[in-house]
């Protein structure tokens, strides 16, 4: 304890600053860089800001003039309602298939418990990243060109989308587990699969369920769009009516999509709350 009371050999500093060179240079430099790029983009793209704000008023006018009153009879037609159910089924199948496929990929691509860090880890990462890198509309276009128009292409596209979406969230969740039980299982001679089942799954089960529900929610929103590109479901009606300039019907379809998304959001929010309470 004598160490503490000894007079310090170096003189005590007179001042102290939170911002010191070179850290301060990086901080303010990067902030300046972001601002400069923002101004440059606005300038280069010739964004007319007064016009932008004026357009908001115009939007209300256009919506009132062209889309009002929405043709609600059209969206309560049994033929259309059947496509709503189709969309629901597509999102459901896509989400389930995607979640199931993404679990092994997430396991491979979580560095801490990956069964093989040299081979399967990069493979899993690559799988998840390539699913994420391609937008769901592009997946739809790709699958439509292989499988033809219809639900199969839509479900396949949604599956890829969900693998990318859930895979990333799952593997982040796995990488954040407490490594204590993992060490304990490894020390008992468990193989990587057993380590995953015993030490990882119990820790991430609740989070996984929440993510799976969220994935379905997002897949449902994406499902309304894949139809637009030939993947089946209500999006197809949207495209046809847009092209035929049936604006009152388009208005009604957009309203129905908003209503369905709100319902999906409400259900998924409620389910996730229930699951979280199970902790």
């Amino acid at each position: 304890m004598t160490e503490l009371t000894k007079t310090p050999s170096t003189p005590v500093a007179e001042t102290w600053s939170r911002y010191r060179f070179p850290g301060s240079l990086y901080r303010f430099g990067s902030l300046l860089g972001v601002l400069v790029f923002l101004v440059y983009s606005l300038h280069f793209l010739n964004v007319d800001i007064p016009l932008l704000f004026g357009a908001l008023g115009g939007l209300v006018g256009v919506v009132a003039e062209r889309y009002y009153p929405p043709d609600l009879a059209y969206v309560t037609d049994p033929g259309y309602l059947a496509t709503v159910v189709d969309t629901l089924q597509m999102s459901f199948l896509g989400a389930i298939a995607g979640v199931f496929l993404s679990i092994p990929l997430a396991w491979f691509s979580a560095f801490n418990v990956s069964p093989n860090q040299r081979l399967l880890f990069p493979l899993g990462r690559f799988g998840v990243i390539s699913c994420r890198a391609i937008h769901e509309t592009i997946w739809t276009i790709l699958f439509v060109s292989i499988l033809g128009f219809g639900m199969l292409a839509g479900v396949s596209a949604l599956t890829m989308f969900c693998v990318g979406f859930a895979g990333k969230l799952f593997s982040d969740e796995i990488e954040a587990v407490d490594m204590g039980p993992v060490d304990a299982m490894r020390a008992a001679g468990a193989n990587p699969f057993q380590v995953f089942v015993f030490a990882v799954v119990p820790q991430v089960r609740v989070a996984f369920t929440g993510i799976a529900i969220y994935t379905w929610d997002v897949a449902f929103r994406a499902a309304t769009v894949v139809g637009f590109f030939g993947g089946g479901g209500m999006g197809w009606y949207l495209k046809r009516n847009v092209q035929q300039l049936e604006n009152l019907r388009v208005g009604a379809i957009i309203l129905s999509i908003i209503a369905m998304v709100l319902i999906a959001e409400f259900i998924s929010g409620w389910l996730r709350k229930v699951v979280n309470r199970a902790k």
């Binding site: 039980p181 304990a184 299982m185 020390a187 008992a188 001679g189 468990a190 193989n191 699969f193 015993f198």
Partner: protein, 250 residues
Amino acid sequence: MAVLSVRNLKVRYSGKGPEILKGIDFDVEGDDFLAIIGPSGAGKSTLIRCVNRLVEPTDGTITLLDQDVRALKPRALRELRRDVGMIFQEFNLINRMSVMDNVLSGRLGYTGNLRSLFRHFTKDDIRQALDFLERVGLSDHVDKRADELSGGQRQRVGIARALMQQPKLLLLDEPTSALDPKISQEVMALIREIAKELRVPALCNIHDVQLAKEFCNRIIGLQDGIKKFDGETRTLRDADLEDIYAMEVL
């Protein structure tokens, strides 16, 4: 014939990082209850984790049950690990599983993938688990979730799990430092008793010198990755302790 013999063990966590262990030699004999003492950061935990390669050594040889541990391929390493029971400072139980499942998980090394997936252990394993749970005094808590237990009870689950492996060596990584003094005594007494009964040698990290003196027949003193003392407990003098803890400043 030593159960475990360690020669010139060196560990560095990263290529340019500091050397945590700087050439350690020691043996564990068949009836040893060996304590490793030393200040925080001396490398006690690293040393014990090298024995079953939870930490990869950078140099030296470890011979455990006549096998060269560092040369083992993954499958052979898992088979060797089955013979080494480990008990942890933070218990490392699976909190959301029952006490029974936690104890049974000690048998994973002997269980196939499909059985593990459905947690379908053999009748013998279950009988054995019930026996060990009774031995550590937890018969009334078999179906409770591990996170419902107190610290002392959780460590008893950890002990039962290690015993399920029918170990030939016990590694104890600070088994009592998360427990209060009275329960620490009980837990150490229980471990020593069982180790004696099953004739299993134990290697025990411990920062509490009193507990080490009370329960262990041999003591190794580590300081900053170097072995400062190695001898029977009764030969440990106060001067040796001064020497081991000399670098502890604060």
